[in-house]
């Protein structure tokens, strides 16, 4: 079936994503930032659904929102943020950083202007129905080695995080 | 299950010490523990404290001489000791006489006694001997009593309460603060001059915002 009112959904979700992203970097209080991040991530999950990538959307929700952001919130609660809220929020090189980001934006625009022809102007549809199965097959057949490496990475991360956060080992 | 054990005896059978003897089992109607006097209605004169004689007391007398005055009253033994030696006496009671359990630390206020306004009373019990003894000392108002927290951990709160109620300072107490009354309270309610309806109205006004706590 066709998604209903695609452009409206797209613009709505994109606006939420971008505005919340601005919220993430502008808020004084890290908890507010984390909540803004949740909104960004959820609207991105919506965008993935619109792009017929339901599995990625599901992983986004369960892993990013349900896992990583909870981790962020957990750490924020462990840390006394009251003092940090009263301090300066931006570092001394903020102007340079802003300029660099602007330059990056300019680069994007330049790339688009120069190579307009290679950008696709149409959308091709992949079947939604078997998306999960196909992703699974690809993960476990074509990309088995990267998958294993990723699991190794996670193991290292677990050990690293435990070593870092534990007081006495 | 603990209760299955057939052993019904207490941890230590009461030895026939000079202390309070349990009344003979044959006479249940007799209330426990006063062999000193026949059970007649109280006469105006009443029983008087008798000197207490036992091996333990002799040991104490040898060590402290005239500083102590061992007595027995209604089958209960107590030693009145001089404030200067009471700590050594208590220490000796615990270390060499097995009085391992400090039941209570308390005080009595006698405002009419000149320079000896307070009785400080330590009630001790010995698990191995199944025997109680009270140690008493007379203090002048304002003089400190020795703290026995180092000897018995129990004394910590008991001495705090004593300080709270009577204002007796216990020297050597790790944390001598009020315990039942609030920290800023003025006065020590169990002193005789403290009226029964008296209160620190200043504190009440300041902290509770009311005119009177009554």
């Amino acid at each position: 079936m066709d998604p209903v009112a695609t452009p409206y959904f797209f613009y709505g979700l994109s606006a939420v994503a971008v505005l919340s992203a601005v919220g993430v970097i502008m808020r004084r209080n890290p908890v507010h930032s984390a909540i803004a991040l949740i909104f960004t991530l959820l609207s991105l999950a919506g965008l993935y659904l619109m792009l017929y990538a339901p599995f990625v959307a599901g992983v986004q929700i369960i892993l990013y929102v349900g896992g990583i952001v909870v981790l962020f919130l957990f750490v924020i609660m462990l840390i006394n943020i009251e003092r940090m809220q009263r301090e300066y929020q931006f570092n001394k090189q903020w102007l340079v950083g802003l300029l660099a980001a602007a330059a990056l934006g300019a680069l994007f625009v330049a790339v688009y202007v120069k190579g307009q022809s290679i950008f696709p102007q149409h959308a091709v549809r992949f079947p939604e129905q078997l998306n999960t199965q196909q992703v699974g097959k690809m993960l476990y057949v074509d990309y088995l080695l990267p998958f294993e490496i990723a699991s190794l990475l996670l193991l290292v991360a677990i050990v690293g995080a435990v070593v870092m956060a534990k007081k006495r080992i | 299950m603990p209760e299955d054990k057939p052993d019904q005896k207490p941890a230590s059978p009461p030895p026939p010490a000079a202390g309070e003897k349990p009344a003979a089992a044959a006479a249940p109607p007799k209330p426990a523990g006063e062999p000193a006097k026949p059970a007649t209605p109280a006469k105006p004169a009443g029983p008087v404290p008798q000197p207490w004689e036992s091996e333990m007391v002799e040991r104490f007398c040898r060590r402290f001489g005239s500083g102590i005055d061992p007595k027995t009253y209604l089958g209960q033994n107590y030693i009145v000791a001089d404030p200067s030696i009471v700590y050594q006496l208590l220490q000796m009671l615990r270390d060499s006489e097995q009085f391992d359990y400090c039941v209570d630390v308390t005080a009595v206020h006698y405002p009419q006694r000149k320079d000896q306004e307070f009785d400080v009373v330590w009630i001790l019990y010995s698990f191995p001997r199944n025997e109680r003894v009270r140690v008493k000392t007379m203090l002048k108002d304002g003089d400190p009593a020795p703290s026995v927290v180092a000897l018995w951990g129990t004394a910590n709160w008991l001495e705090r309460e004593c300080y709270d109620m009577f204002g007796i300072r216990f020297e050597g107490h790790p944390d001598l603060r009020r315990i039942l009354l609030p920290d800023g309270w003025k006065g020590h309610p169990l002193r005789k001059e403290y009226g029964i309806t008296q209160q620190d109205s200043e504190w009440v006004k300041l902290n509770l915002g009311i005119e009177s706590g009554q």
């Binding site: 462990l78 840390i79 009251e82 003092r83 009263r86 301090e87 | 299950m1 603990p2 209760e3 052993d7 019904q8 005896k9 207490p10 941890a11 230590s12 309070e20 349990p22 089992a25 249940p28 109607p29 007799k30 209330p31 426990a32 523990g33 059970a39 007649t40 209605p41 109280a42 006469k43 105006p44 004169a45 009443g46 029983p47 404290p49 009253y73 209604l74 359990y101 039941v103 209570d104 308390t106 009595v108 206020h109 009630i123 698990f127 199944n130 109680r132 018995w152 951990g153 129990t154 910590n156 709160w157 008991l158 309460e161 109620m165 315990i179 039942l180 309610p189 169990l190 005789k192 029964i196």
Partner: protein, 391 residues
Amino acid sequence: MADILKSEQSPSSVEHIEAEKGVDQPFLDATELILNMGPQHPSTHGVLRVILKLDGEKVLNTECVIGYLHRGVEKIAEHRTYAMFNPYVDRMDYVAAVSNGLGYCEAVEKLLNVEAPPRAQWVRTILTELNRIASHQLWLGTHALDIGAITPLFYTFRDREEILKIFEKYCGARLTTHAFRIGGCLYETYDGFEQDVKKFCDFVTPKVDEYETLLTTNRIWLERTKGVGVLKAEDCIDLGVTGPVLRASGVKWDLRKAQPYAAYKNFEFDIPTGQNGDTYDRYLVRVAEMRQALRIIRQAVDSIPEGPIMGKVPKVMKPPVGEIYHSIEAPKGELGYFIVSDGSTQPYRVRVRPPSFVNLQALSKMVEGALVADVVAVIGTLDIVLGEVDR
């Protein structure tokens, strides 16, 4: 504590913080937290306030703040006659009012050098043991509730009700009974007292098994209570802890055996003890004590002697000058009365040695390094009544 809590509110400018860096030391480690448990808290059994210093969930330090229920019972005693003070003692440990009354009456009788007649002694023993069961039942229900099992509370209260009914029939009051008078008991037992008590014994014996079915082998109960709040025998003696807590640590000491009072020397019973001194052992000891209490009651009911129930005491009680210490085994531990008489109708000084107050002192030792949930369990297992702690 007050200045600690104040230091959280510091001025809000960065410069200020920089300037005050020496003064504005963080009072806590990065992960530490002060938790103020009580005085209004569901499981501090009244108005106990415990200030916990936590590292995450781990308890680093505790401080008890008591006195919220301080009514000055000892001061009141100095302004009442001996008989008038008797009802006041019921208000200290209000779940075991009968025991309190027994201790006071016996202490004054000793001071007066009179004795209660045997019939009174027997009735006193029966009522005191019934009250011990009631107290332990209330403890069991609330303790299980603290640990999260809500059902035992209702079972124990259902059965405790039967005891209170007997009290009500005997003396007209359920909780603060004022059942005994100096020199004996005021009331003769009502018709059918023996039958009621026997019926109660038969009724409650399977109920005690029922509590055990719910808890004793429950895995979660075992995990929550075994090895929690361990108190070794030496520590118990050093801290003056008495009652079931002491017996659970393996010290076989019970005043009913060691220095018998009332009619206890006529009855056979065991002193249940534990080995590990943890919360589970204390639970077992108290449940076993309920059974022993039933045993005593059964023996006592069968052998109540005939005779008067009130001894001969003077109308105006004027004990001779002197002082007396008398203690009994209350459900919570050694309850002692130190009474000083100056020969008048009013006691010169009454000192109550409250078991709860002394036992509560062991709290900070028992919860060192435990978790928040254990603090609740340990407060429950100490079986304190704040009315008695604060008096």
